[in-house]
Every structure is written in C-alpha cells, then in structure tokens.
Symmetry: C2
Subunit: 499 residues, 2 copies
C-alpha cells in the first residue's frame, strides 16, 4: 500500500467511524430524552448491529495494513496525521483483542442496562438493576484482562479515560487530598450556615427552561451549534463542532441543581465547540482525556460559576427570570448560598469542598468491584457505609445512594477519578490564566468570551492532538501540581467561612 | 445455498436492515425536533455513510443468491416468508439498478434539502430551496428511468408509494371526484358560515401540549410505545411496534390545527403499533402501501375525528383543558366548527370537502415536473395559478404556497395521491365497519378501542403481508369503489349545510 493510498484510506475510515459514533450517539440521546419506555429492547438490537459494523470497520486486515503502512512511515507524516495514526492504532489494538461477539453483546447490554437503570432509579429498585450491573462488571473485568502492561485490572480501565492514570498515582493523591480536606470540612461545619432558603422556593419549570437559555447565552454557547435537552442525569454529547448537545434535570424546589448542571455541561460543550475545524471527522475531535474534559466542565461550574464576580453577572439575570424569588437577594448572599458547604448525598449537587469525597467513595468501590473483592449484591451496603465514614451522612434509599449516577449503567468503570483530576487541572489552569489576563474583570462584566478564547487557544482547538500531559503543559505552562487544587479550596473556603 | 441457510441469512439481513432504518429514522427525527441549525451538513455525511452501508447490505452477490434460492423454492416457504422474499426481491431489483454513488449522494442530498427547506419556509425564500428542488427532481426523473414496465416516469414513482397506481387510473378518478365536489363546494359557499370564532381564541402552548396528551389517551395510543414531539411539519415515524413517534405543530390562535394533526398522526401510529409481533424486524412491519397508511390517518382524523359522536366525546376533554375558551360551546357548535368548509391555502388544515383539491393540484404539478414539462423556477407561479383555478384563493406568499409541505424536500414525488386514495379507502372501510359493529355508540362514549380492534384484526396486524388490494379486500370485503368517498362527502356536507 502506498503512503498516499494509506492516507486516503485513513480519511475514509475516520469519516465512516464518525458516522457510526454520530448515529449511536443520537440513538442514546434519543433514548435518554424522548424515546418511549418500551423501546429499549429493539434499540439495543440496533445498537448491537451498529457496534458490530463499527468493530468490523476498525478490525480487519485492510485497516491493519493501512495503519502499519502509516506507522512505518511515521516520519513522513504531518504531526496531526501521525497523532491520528497513534490514537487509532491504540484503539485498534484494544479492540482487536476483544472477540467480536463479546464486543457486540456488550454494546447491546449497555443499551439495555441504561433503560433498566432509569427505571430502577425511578422506582428505587436496586435489585432490578443488580443483574445488569453484575454482567457489566464481569465484562469490564474481562476487557481489562485483554489489555496488557497494567499492574491491576482497574488500572487498565482507568487508562481508557485518563491515559497514564494508575491506582499507584491516585491512591496517594486522594489520600493527601482527603487529609487536607477533612479538617477544612470539619472547621466549616462548626461555622453558622449561610442563607440558602431562596434557592429552595418554588421555581416553575417553564421559567427554569427560559433561565437555561439565558445561562447558555451568558456562557457564550452558540445556539446554532448547541442545544439543551432534559434527562434524568445531565450529560453532554458532542457529535462534531457543529452539533453539541447538553442536557439538564430540573427540580422545582432547587434552582441551583439545574443551574450548575447547565454551567457544568456548558463547560464540556465549549470544549467540543472549540475543537479545530481541521480535526473534524477524525479521532482527534475529542477531549485530550476525560480528566481534561472534566477540567473544562468543572472550570466553568466552579472556578468561574461559583466565583464572586460571576455571581455579580448572574444576579441580574436571575432577577429577570425569577423576580419574586430573588427579591431580597444581593450578590454576597447569592455567592455564599451557592458555595454553602455541607456533607450531602448527591454528587452532582455537592459543593466544591465535599465533592472530591463523593469521587473517592466511587473510586474505592470500583477498585473492589473490578478486583473481584466485592460482589454487586454487597454494593449498596458498602456505599452507605462509605457515605457514613467519609461524609457522615445516612443514605435513606438507593435512589439517593448507589443508583444516583448513570455511569455504571453505561459501562463506565474508572471514569469517576476524571472529575477529581479535572477539578485539580482546572485550578492549575486558573492560576496560570490569572497571570496572563484579567479573568475577573471579564467575568464580572458577564463577558466570558476572553476566558473561553484563552482556553480555546491553549486547549480546545487542539482536541486530542494533545496527550493529557501536553494539554496540561499547554494550558498551565507546567506539569500537574496536585497541591494547587487543595490550596485553592483552602483559600476559597477560609475566606467564605472566615476560618 | 441450502433453504435453511437462506432463511437464516434472510433473518439476519432483515434485522440488519431494521437497524439502519431505525438509526436513520432517529437521525431524521432528531433533525426535525431537536438538532441545532448548523448540524445539517455533518448529519448529511452520516446519512451518506449509513445509506451506503444499507445499500451494500442489500445489493451484493450473497444477498442475490439468498433471494434467488428462496424464490426458486417459494412453494416450500410459509406465506409470510414468501411475502418477505417477494418484497425484498422487488426492493433488491429497484435498488440494484441505481449506481451506489447516486444512491448515496441522493441520501445526502435529502438530508441537506430538508434543512434548507426548513429555513426557506421560515424565511419565505423559495429561491434558497429551488436549487435543491431541481436536483431532487432530476434524481427522481433518473430513478424513475431505471425502473421498467411503466408508461411514464411519474407512474414509476407513484408505484413506490401505491403499488399499481398509475396516471391512467388516477386521472379519471380525480376528474370525476372534482366534477362531483365542485358543485358541492359551490353550494356550501352560498350558505352562511358556521361559528368558528372560539377555535381562534388564544390557546397557550403549555395547555395545548397537555391537550395533546389527552387526545392521545382518547385515541388509545399506548404511552409506553408512542410519544409526541414538535416539528415544523407533523409526521409519524414507526421504528417498530414498541417505538412509534408522532409530531405536531402548535398554533397559538388555532387549536384545531394541532388537534387534527395529533389525530391524523395518531391514526398512522395506531397502524404501526398494531402490526403483528411476528412481523417485527422484517420488511412486513410496514404499511401495505402509503395509500393504506393514509387511509388510517385520514380515517381517525376525519371519519371519526370530525364526526358528531366524536365531538360529543371530545367536548368534555376540551372543556377541561380550555374552560375559558370553550365556555359557550355545545356539541353541535363544535361539530359545525370543525367541519367548516371553505377554500383555503394550507393542505394539512383543509376541511374534508376541499382537501382533495389540494391533492389534485400537487398531483398535476408533480406530473409536469417529472415529465420535464415544467421547470422548478416556474413552480411557484404554477402553484399560485392552480390555487386560483381549483380553489379560488390567492396565495399571498410561498410560505403558505409552494413551500408549505415537507414531502418534496425529502424526495417524495408521487406520494400526495396516497392521501386522496387513503381518504377514499377509509370511507369504504367505514361503510363496512358500520355493517359489522356499533361504531358510533363506541365513539360517542369516547371508547375507540372497538374501532381500533376491528381495524387491527382486518388490517393493522397484517402490515405489508397484504398488497394494497388485499388490504382493501380484507377491510372492506370488496375491491376499491371510488364512488363511496364522493357519496360520503355529499351526504355529510348536505346534512351539515342543509343543501
């Protein structure tokens, strides 16, 4: 195969793979937003057929020859093409080790499990979800076993979401973070709680929907390329830079739940919308890693979204959307309310300070499940015990406990640490950004464009052209510094609670 | 290839084809309901990739051998399998004559054209849509030419939607229908118009959305298998019997617009939901023809939905949803209002009496376009002239004229006659149903279950196992009788307007 024929084949393969990713993504989105309840089994058949087609696109002698040709002549390739070959080769190797039947059955299982989880959560019925979760864990243990060069099966799964992340690195990171956060959380708990009553008045859903549109405008999300939907669990799916979807979940008596979901998912969306046009229809139109992706969502949600300057820009919008509810609220009151810290049950609604503990709980439980040290049947009790130990809260039911997150139902084990890493990456990016530009002046004016432009230039437009380490180096001018995040939290909460 | 191997391959092929139909259907639905405006070009690439995969599934030596094997041993096959082979063989022959590049480019074009039409309609900009329409016409003329055994290219297209329908049969049918309707329409126009003011009060959209749910319950649509969305142009897409979608379009000052769209699409949905479980994942889980499909939508919309007994069942629901607007409305007033007949601009909102004229206009224009007797550029003027001639109305803009329907943007030329045929089929089914059961007692009680069960038994469950002629014979106990429809309209409108 000649070099130019191989490049031509690479381009065709990537376009085809985009199409299957797109179609399966829209089927998933439709399932979570619109599809009728009884539609799941037939959709899982469709997912099985499409995943088999996708598997066979990648795993076949012709693709292997094409990738080998390009790897042998890597020196002759442009940097982006070389990187595409590297990313695809890895994906080829990971996929080729999985027998096609297992790959397809697993796709079908994920589509079924997602529907079962939705219903189980609604009905607080862990027993209905447990058999699916058992199968999902078993598949993931087997898939982990197919990968080589990892100290533990869980390390192999972590690597899918954050290349290079291992338990050997995360164990001490989480231990030291927990050691720094625990006294801070205790100190905060001894202080009087700020006012939050106004966040829990009645916020009718039609008004919240309009508010979401205002928030999306404030974030600078292009409405021609990004729209919002409603799901049980908020998420973002970027099919390409012209088609990014975010979702939220409204609660009538908690305006901040959806508000911070929109800002969080909006952060993911800005990353997807900002990826270079030259990367589209290639595997590089993707996050550098899930940790880097979560750095963007958590950046907008917390570092920007829960800052005092942002509250200044936000309050007038909230007053317009909710004049009654916000009547006696001023900027400091709003700022303190959206940063109230107290141990709680739901990860996605947790404050910045206690949030990492929610992640550590999932991390510990996943390690045990994937190592085979714990059965799925033991999971709810272990979950509740860890919430008691780490956060001092009693879990009243599985709906607010082990069934709360969507990740496991989609087969994502090893994903959760991305949130904690992302939060830490973001803190480090902010420190660098503050040195280079007037972050807070822009935010206070309600103009996030300069912030997004800074991230766009250093991070977004490069997509997966960067490894996570390169992405960090580009955005922070330095390698990962885990202390930066704990320093940021200490400073912020000491100020808020006058510690 | 052995017979049992061929049957096994047939089953696999049909499951795979269901998956692609499902995925492409969901992508289209998403495009019409949720997707951001700028997403169309990338989606059309995805549609191109999927349509090529679908083409290659069907058109390849292995499939041909399988189909030939089964056709040669047709006598050894069960009736449903034999019918599947027959339907697929026809589809194979039609598709194989189209070069794959043309097939794929056409899929891509349709996906683009749909988005362009949406925008053109919104902005009343025919010129923006015209180049796409030109290409669509050219493709359809070429595709018609690939088919053999038709007197004219337009006949070849008609056959796609209604097997056996030809201009030789439709020309005299439409001529005689027009001859019977014209004096009736004139007579009605000389009578005083009934009250319709209350239909045009303000009906806020949130209340209309709740009303749609009530209508769907009244129709007996299973909410676990059928849900509603909102689109510019209402439609139904049944992916399988567990997943049927209908859509509507709300107008704040016209409650009947969406109401009759929901009932119309609900009729399509009942057909799809009623198709036999044994037909699922095969080509027989489909309407016998588009005419038969439209017979069901038009049956519920008009024969049932605009009947006096249905108005009795409907009024209490409308009163609950719209107490203010419906305060001084009684059953006869509602009945007369929803049957007001006057020549109008918009097909989907036309009354039963003038509706066929809207179809005849499209039929005449399509004949000219496909014959090459008229250019796309001449279409708006020809459209407006025909509305003047047939209906005596002046078309104020293309939005309310030639741009109103979605069909051409999706490449459907030859579809419109299905509506007129369907209306006529339905009238004949009703005559038979009235002989066999107490239709109006059930409808008056708001219990459509016996009506749907009757249609389910004779029509719905058989799907495409029946040809259109067989479907008619099963549901009417007789072949097509074109007079039945004109008789029905004459009787109904003579009563309504005391002619």
């Amino acid at each position: 195969m000649t070099l130019s024929a191989a490049i031509e084949e690479l381009n065709i393969l990537e376009k085809n793979m985009h199409a299957y990713r797109h179609a399966m993504g829209v089927l998933s989105l439709d399932s979570a937003t619109c599809a009728p309840a009884a539609s799941a089994p037939a959709r899982s058949e469709t997912m099985g057929v499409l995943s088999e087609a996708r598997y066979r696109l990648l795993v076949n002698p012709r693709t292997e020859e094409m990738l080998r040709t390009l790897r042998e002549q890597a020196a002759a390739l442009d940097v982006p093409v070389r990187r595409r070959v590297e990313v695809l080769w890895e994906s080829y190797q990971d996929t080729t080790r999985i027998p096609v039947r297992e790959y397809v059955d697993y796709s079908r299982l994920c589509a079924q499990a997602d529907a079962v989880w939705h219903r189980a959560k609604e009905e607080n019925d862990f027993a209905a979800f447990a058999p699916y979760l058992e199968k999902l864990v078993a598949y993931n243990r087997r898939f982990a076993g197919y990968k080589t060069g990892f100290a533990t099966p869980y390390d192999a799964l972590l690597d899918d979401y954050e290349k290079g992340a291992t338990t050997a690195m995360l164990d001490p990171y989480f231990a030291s973070l927990r050691a720094r956060l625990t006294p801070l959380i205790r100190a905060v708990s001894e202080k009087p709680a700020p006012r939050t009553d106004f966040l829990h008045l009645r916020y009718p859903l039609p008004e919240q929907r309009l508010f979401s549109q205002r928030l999306m405008a404030l974030l600078g999300l292009d409405p021609a390329r990004c729209v919002i939907g409603e799901t049980e669990h908020p998420f973002t799916d970027g099919f390409n830079r012209w088609d990014v979807r975010i979702t939220t979940h409204y609660q009538e008596y908690d305006v901040s739940a959806s508000m911070y979901s929109v800002i969080h998912e909006g952060g993911h969306a800005l990353y997807e919308l900002g990826m270079g046009e030259d990367l589209q229809f290639t595997c590089l139109a993707d996050g550098a890693s899930m940790g880097i992706h979560e750095s963007q969502s958590r950046f907008y949600e917390n570092l920007i979204g829960r800052s005092l300057p942002f509250c200044k820009a936000l309050l007038p919008v909230m007053r317009e959307c909710f004049p009654e509810q916000m009547r006696d609220v001023d900027v400091p009151t709003l700022y303190r309310a959206v940063n109230v810290s107290r141990p709680s049950l739901i990860r996605t609604e947790a404050d910045e300070l206690t949030y990492p503990l929610h992640i550590m709980i999932r991390y510990e439980l996943e390690k045990r499940l994937i190592a085979g040290d714990m059965k799925v049947a033991e999971l709810p009790e272990a979950w509740n015990a860890m919430y008691r130990e780490y956060l001092g809260v009693e879990v009243p039911d599985d709906r607010q406990g082990v069934l709360q997150d969507t990740h496991w139902s989609g087969g994502a084990f090893g994903y959760f640490p991305s949130y904690a890493l992302g939060s830490a990456y973001g803190a480090q990016m902010l420190a660098r950004m503050e040195q280079e530009m007037d972050v807070w002046g822009a935010v206070e004016r309600g103009d996030l464009q300069p912030v997004t432009a800074w991230l766009g230039e250093k991070l977004h437009r490069h997509g997966k052209l960067f490894t996570p380490a390169q992405a960090l180096q580009s955005a922070c001018g330095a390698p990962f510094d885990p202390d930066c995040y704990a320093d940021y939290l200490t400073k912020k909460y000491s100020g808020l609670y006058a510690l």
